[in-house]
């Protein structure tokens, strides 16, 4: 507590906060409102700029559609149910690919993290595959798996796999050597060692990998659907682009961004809850 007060001495901070040091400031107090306004100010600036540009017709509506036409398109997509149906199709694909990619990444990550032999065996190929962008894989994946859901799920799994793999390996390797020695002294079996020593140590890293993997999964599904699909948000974006509907394009891009942000937020909350024991 004294250390915190000393630290606060060096920061220009309201006296009220210093008096309350050690207690969390309520989110909707004065500072909470200020923080909220600060975080929304940049999006607001962008919106204002956008509206000015479209009102003054600085660029043709085709290139910069007005906020009104974007809002109208969003309303239409919601009314017809098109947005929900595309979104649900994309989300289902992501969940499938994320599950498989995450499971494989975790399994290989534990294996390669613990076994130096396994690491040497797999890392060459995995490192090579990792360098090839997902969209470069897509033509081959389509040839092998067709243009249905399978090819999209495979691409999403590939996108998810590597962040989870690498972070799991890192997490396993960062296990405190002291814990391992004690565990060995007590004669703990390998499976129990993984469960009780390696895994708890690797969990923070694994969750970082899962968060990164979720982002990659979402990007992969949109990319895959843009190239060969008959449904989903990526398909809708490609559709809008080819029919020169820039307002629809922007609506779909915003939806992609918002959903990606929400998924990340949910994962952050889960990570915080799961890792509470670490504090």
């Amino acid at each position: 507590m004294e250390g915190l007060n000393e630290a606060l001495e060096h920061i220009h901070i309201k006296p009220g906060l210093r008096e309350n040091s050690g207690k969390q400031v309520k989110a909707w107090g004065y500072n909470g409102v200020f923080n909220l306004l600060t975080s929304v100010s940049f999006p607001l600036i962008l919106l204002v700029t956008w509206q000015i540009v479209s009102v003054l017709n600085i660029f043709p509506p085709m290139l910069v559609p007005s906020l009104k036409s974007v809002a109208e398109n969003l309303a239409e997509q919601l009314k017809t149910g098109l947005l929900f149906s595309d979104l649900s199709v994309s989300l289902v694909r992501v969940m499938k690919g994320y599950f498989f990619g995450g499971l494989l990444g975790l399994s290989f990550g534990v294996f390669m993290g613990i076994s130096a032999f396994a690491n040497r065996f797999f890392s060459g190929i995995f490192d090579g595959i990792r360098q090839i962008p997902g969209l470069a894989w897509l033509p081959l994946i389509i040839l092998w798996f067709g243009i249905g859901d399978t090819s999209k799920v495979v691409l999403i799994a590939k996108g998810t796999f590597f962040p989870v793999l690498l972070n799991t390996i890192d997490g396993i390797r960062n296990t405190d050597k002291g814990y391992l020695e004690v565990a060995r002294l007590y004669g703990i079996k390998k499976l129990e060692l993984i469960r009780k020593v390696y895994f708890p140590s690797a969990v923070p890293f694994v969750f970082v990998g899962l968060r990164l993997g979720a982002g990659m999964a979402w990007m992969s599904v949109v990319g895959a659907e843009m190239l060969a699909s008959s449904s989903g948000l990526g398909y809708r974006i490609s559709n809008a682009q080819q029919l020169m509907r820039s307002n629809e394009l922007i609506v779909d891009m915003i939806v992609v961004g918002v959903i990606g942000w929400l998924v990340d937020l949910i994962l952050r909350k889960i990570t915080k809850k799961v890792l509470r024991w670490k504090k």
């Binding site: 306004l37 100010s41 607001l44 600036i45 919106l47 204002v48 509206q51 000015i52 479209s54 009102v55 017709n57 600085i58 660029f59 043709p60 509506p61 085709m62 290139l63 007005s66 906020l67 009104k68 036409s69 033509p139 389509i142 040839l143 067709g146 243009i147 190239l227 060969a228 699909s229 008959s230 398909y235 490609s238 559709n239 682009q241 080819q242 029919l243 020169m244 509907r245 820039s246």
Partner: protein
């Protein structure tokens, strides 16, 4: 702190005030040629000629994968007609292939990365209806049918058998309209099939890999697939004149206002190419071969090359076709309005080029 609060307050008020603005300021797309204040990205001939620099006309065409321009554009390029005519107005041409077809050329026109392009009727009118300020200066009518090619060995006898199946073609390209019309002729709608959006090149590969049940592509691509046993010709536009597609040579409207001499020089190049092609039809064939079309396919699609189109002007058939396409797009909600073809097509460049040219 007080300053920050003031700034945030001003921003909030601005949004509220500006949200009420702009309801009457959106330019209408489609029937008028207005497209807002378009600013040309490149310099005009009048600017560059004064500085002595050569102006480059950037022209895009739909590429089947080889990067080779065929038809009159290919002839004009190979024979140096573009080079000669454009040099007279201190200009040169850069001919750029687009495998993404009409929609890709539209995007380039919209961003002013291209000054002109040759595209199909559907993408040309979709672009115009969406507000891209283009002008059509030349046109042509399809000289070969468009086909629905189905996977071989599946027993498909007609389009009715494709109900519920995967059919691939490109959204926003002329093939999309052909597919809609063919489905309608067979008592089906677009929702009765699983429509897969793919470029023609990808669709050909997808059919060869048996990942789709049918595709809609050009005569050359269709016959190539059939000749290799990779597809069966299920239906075509043959015998249905109203299903034919047309092509449009379009320029950015601002470009035609600033560089009318360049536009005329371009058309003069095409007129010279037409005269040459009529005397040397073998060169048209040679270009198709160079572009990768098998010789037996060329002979199938263009027997004796008699039906190879060397049209430059948009005659009444082309205009009539474009009008029906414009209405089709609106009826099928592929465009928000019906493009006024008479206002969009500017025949003056062709007429002036013809008068000034030795070629007829």
């Amino acid at each position: 702190m007080k300053k920050m609060k003031s700034i945030l307050a001003i921003m909030l008020v601005s949004i509220i005030l500006l949200a009420g603005c702009g309801t009457g300021s959106e330019s209408s797309s489609g029937s008028s040629s207005a497209g807002g204040n378009t600013k040309p990205a490149g310099s005009s001939v009048s600017d560059t000629s004064q500085k002595g620099e050569v102006h480059t006309l950037k022209y895009g065409f739909v590429d089947q994968g080889s990067g080779v321009a065929t038809g009159l554009v290919g002839i004009a390029k190979d024979q140096g007609y573009f080079e000669e005519e454009l040099a007279k107005v201190n200009a040169k041409i850069e001919i750029i292939p687009f495998t993404g077809a009409g929609p890709a050329i539209n995007a380039a026109l919209a961003s002013k990365s291209l000054d002109a392009g040759a595209i199909g009727d559907v993408p040309a009118l979709v672009a115009k209806a969406s507000g891209i300020d283009t002008v059509m200066v030349a046109g042509g009518l399809a000289d070969a049918p468009t086909y629905v090619v189905a996977q071989p060995g599946k027993g498909y006898k007609s389009l009715k058998d494709l109900k519920g199946k995967k059919v691939a073609t490109q959204i926003g390209a002329y093939m999309q309209r052909v597919l809609y019309l063919m489905l309608e002729n067979n008592g089906l709608k677009i929702d009765d099939i699983q429509f897969v959006n793919m470029t023609a090149k990808d669709a050909v590969n997808a059919l060869a890999a048996k990942t789709v049940d049918a595709i809609v592509v050009s005569a050359a691509q269709s016959q190539t697939l059939a000749s290799k046993g990779l597809g069966e010709l299920l239906d075509s536009t043959e015998g249905h004149r109203e299903w034919l597609n047309s092509t449009a040579t379009v320029f950015n409207a601002s470009y035609t206002k600033e560089n009318p001499e360049v536009v005329k020089a371009f058309i003069k190049g095409l007129l010279r190419a037409r005269e040459y092609a009529q005397k040397n039809p073998g060169d048209l064939r040679a270009l198709q071969i160079k572009a990768g079309t098998p010789e037996n396919v060329i002979d199938l699609v263009y027997p004796d090359l008699k039906n190879y189109s060397t049209l430059v002007e948009a005659d009444k058939d082309v205009i009539g076709n474009l009008k029906s396409v414009a209405q089709f797009l609106k009826d099928n909600k592929l465009a928000d309005s019906v493009v006024d073809i008479d206002a969009w097509y500017n025949p003056s460049f062709y007429n002036d080029a013809l008068k000034e040219s030795d070629s007829k």
